[in-house]
Point group: C2
Chain length 291, copies 2
């Protein structure tokens, strides 16, 4: 074991060995972790994106964007994304996908889906399971998690936050110029200035590396410049269409004591490796453990 | 032009078309951009890492870590990294490189370089060109830029911040267990809890996509599990050894009025595309323009 090279005190985020290790350690110290502390996403809110390289699992957030989620589910049911393409990979920013022929005569039909939807950002704070964390946030008065999704709030309204792995709806200039037929995922440092400017609809809960390690597009904004560069999407399907066992991921309940402990550990960083335990945390550095 | 698919209001960070576009626009509106607003890094502080896929350019920060920078330059002069390997690629975290045989009998000699160096974090705020920005930072009382590097401060001491593209020195458990023979670069959301815990020595000013889009390692912490998976580093050389014209990048002077304007634009986000201009900024979302 070449300990010397190992950078300990690892930040992790989604699906890393270190997060798993921390969970194991939390099990050992607290001994109170229950299956009730974890939830399995509802199959009706899960999309399965099949690439040649493997599967990406996305959990949708109808709590915040009911119309967009319904429209995306309609598009998915109609097979809209089957055979579509990843069109853009911009370093430290986003990967984006959709119909490469959008806007041309060859464009796919969106069928029964709506062609225009007004942006959807806000949910009523009092109606959500908002688990606030202690953090001095650059962008919002309050930040925390709602059902596993990073979120921000002004105390009355809450909205989703553009952390790594969050999925949003591409749009043009107008506030009704998106409909979910073009989607993107955050693959770099959180572009939080997009909060309340683009509709977020969910989060990748498995398979981020398949998207984040794609070659970067050489065109403006990281778009791929030729059809050869685009990455084929075999299909995007609703988990419900693939049977009950299609969702195997479990996500730590962000309203549980175990999650509170997880946040506390990532805030204090009291492991021996740290010379100056942090005592601070930032929303997009919390990470919601998945197993 | 398929405007519909273009996600405008792009965050960017280093080397993206959008940053360039913003610079162009700043030139147009202000008309005051001077060559004095840009600086060319000193060749003596620039490392050139040659991969099969291209060149990565790193600017060193002796202002903050003079002993580590001197040691790394000694290692580089001795060809220590020529034929070394990228050993780790952990999603949303870091890429790390060094001697794959570290800790074994086949380990490379570090020659005249020091084998142990105490961590170096702090510089005297009053002796730096600290350009503070207005931002409510989760981790520090004050944040801003020093000679193009993102930095934080308590008003007296200043230290470098772990933003995307920052380069640091791997270490083990002790505060003198690193020496610069193992290095890493941040490839994901800023792991700011590492500030003042690992010595930062510089920043990638060109070629980040060559590192950030590498396949992720499947071992613990993203280490590559076999020699076949590791990525060869042809060489790391000092720019001085390659002649005066080896550094072609220019970096916006972070103490210039043009940079102030850049920060203001990225704070207000008053472009028509934004529905709710942000009015806020976070250190690692500023980005220092390079040309």
């Amino acid at each position: 074991m070449k300990i010397y090279l190992v950078l300990l005190g690892c930040v992790s985020l989604f699906f890393t060995a270190m997060v798993k290790a921390e969970i194991v350690s939390s099990e050992k110290t607290s001994g109170v972790e229950l299956s009730a502390d974890w939830r399995t996403p509802k199959a009706e809110s899960v999309l399965l994106m099949q690439l040649d390289s493997g599967r990406v699992v996305i959990e949708l957030a109808p709590q915040f964007a009911p119309n967009h989620v319904a429209n995306i589910k309609q598009l998915v049911s109609d097979g809209y994304f089957d055979g579509s393409k990843i069109l853009r990979s911009q370093d430290n920013y986003v990967v984006q996908w959709g119909d490469p022929d959008e806007g041309t005569e060859q464009a796919r039909s969106i069928g029964k889906a709506s062609s225009k939807l007004k942006v959807e950002f806000f949910a009523d704070h009092s109606e959500l399971n908002f688990a606030a964390i202690e953090s001095r946030d650059a962008y919002a008065a309050e930040v925390g998690f709602v059902d596993g999704f990073p979120a921000a709030s002004d105390g009355k309204r809450a909205w989703l936050a553009h952390c790594y792995g969050m999925v949003g709806v591409s749009r043009g200039m107008g506030d009704d110029s998106g409909n979910g037929s073009g989607l993107y995922v955050v693959t770099g440092h959180a572009p939080r200035h997009l909060d309340r400017n683009v509709t977020l609809v969910g989060r990748v809960i498995k398979g981020m590396p398949l998207l984040s390690s794609l070659p970067r597009g050489t065109g403006d904004l990281g778009f791929f410049e030729s059809a050869e560069e685009t990455i084929p999407i075999k299909s995007i399907k609703l988990a419900t269409s693939l049977g009950d066992k299609s969702v195997s991921q479990q996500i730590m309940d962000t309203n549980s004591a175990v999650f509170e402990e997880h946040v506390a550990k990532r805030t204090t960083r009291s492991e021996e490796w740290f010379l100056e335990p942090t005592g601070k945390i930032e929303l997009c550095n919390v990470g919601v453990p998945t197993r």
